[in-house]
Symmetry: C2
Subunit: 156 residues, 2 copies
DNA sequence: TATTGTTATACTCTATAACTATA
DNA sequence: TATAGTTATAGAGTATAACAATA
């Protein structure tokens, strides 16, 4: 017995007739638009979007390892090194080698790190207000829900 | 009299409490997920997502110039050169210098170009079926609508 | 003076391979 | 052997500046 989809999504997907019919096209355009605005918004705080994401992870889960952040954010271990070095140099995080497994550096936010993160979230909220300017409150919630359904590997 | 939004979007945007509250975060994750799948899907046809987008523009508006494609897709004129060279080398497009303005090369699809584009749209439809596997038909339509509202500069 | 197509160049983001130290 | 952090490096994608030809 074949698994049933939520509603009958076409078994044989209907080929799009043009670029604009593809969700992926609009996804990319919207994401680029967002990234430009996010980058500009965070410039005032001296952070890049990726640094901000990494810092948020450290604040939300103090003691998290670099490898775990990479798994959460879907990035390569090699590419987080310079991000962490930058955040450390700016005094936004501390490293503490795990006592029982010396391969692992546990990462903790400093007070300054928490402050800058709060400021960045406010800057990003301002940017998102612009990003979502044509969507009402319920549409914003719905967009977030649909997007998370697209990429999140949760629930099977 | 201040312009009114669709519904009262907060005048003072509420800062998100974490990364996951930001639409931009989910936008980026979903877009990366899509791009990986699109790239893999098009690999079979020997095209990259950007080449496919450019070719679609030529098919949808035969005679379009490179500069116009760049304006439509939001890319730099410098960066379309190698894409067009590749498409031309593969026999998917023809260039014809405009008679009344010799700066402009009008671009036309070949039959082979139209064939490969049709094949690519089918491959992408298959990929999108996976991308949107957790969304029903009406949710897919709604996602596309909301995304286009985010990035499209249309209608003021 | 402005635009088209083009070259050269640099910078960011991402991906892979290999190393070391630990386990 | 497997994992964590790291280095080096290569590949995309994207950005700017400058040029010749044309308008």
């Amino acid at each position: 017995m074949p698994t049933k989809r939520k509603q009958d999504a076409p078994q044989n997907p209907t080929p799009a007739r043009s670029l604009g019919d593809l969700v992926g096209y609009h996804l990319r355009r919207a994401s680029v638009f967002d990234l430009q605005g996010s980058t500009a918004a965070l410039e005032e705080a001296g952070l890049r979007p990726i640094s901000m994401s990494v810092l948020c992870n450290i604040i939300e889960r103090p003691g998290i390892s670099a490898a775990d952040i990479c798994r959460v954010l879907g990035m390569q271990r090699a590419n987080i090194v310079s991000v962490l070095a930058d955040l450390e140099e700016k005094g936004f995080l501390l490293r503490d080698t795990d006592k029982s497994d010396q391969r692992i550096q546990r990462l903790y936010p400093t007070d300054g790190g928490r402050e800058i993160a709060t400021k960045c979230l406010a800057l990003l909220a301002e940017h998102e207000e612009h990003l979502l300017r044509r969507l009402d409150a319920s549409e914003r919630v719905e967009l977030l829900r649909l997007l998370s359904l697209v990429w999140q590997p949760l629930s099977t």
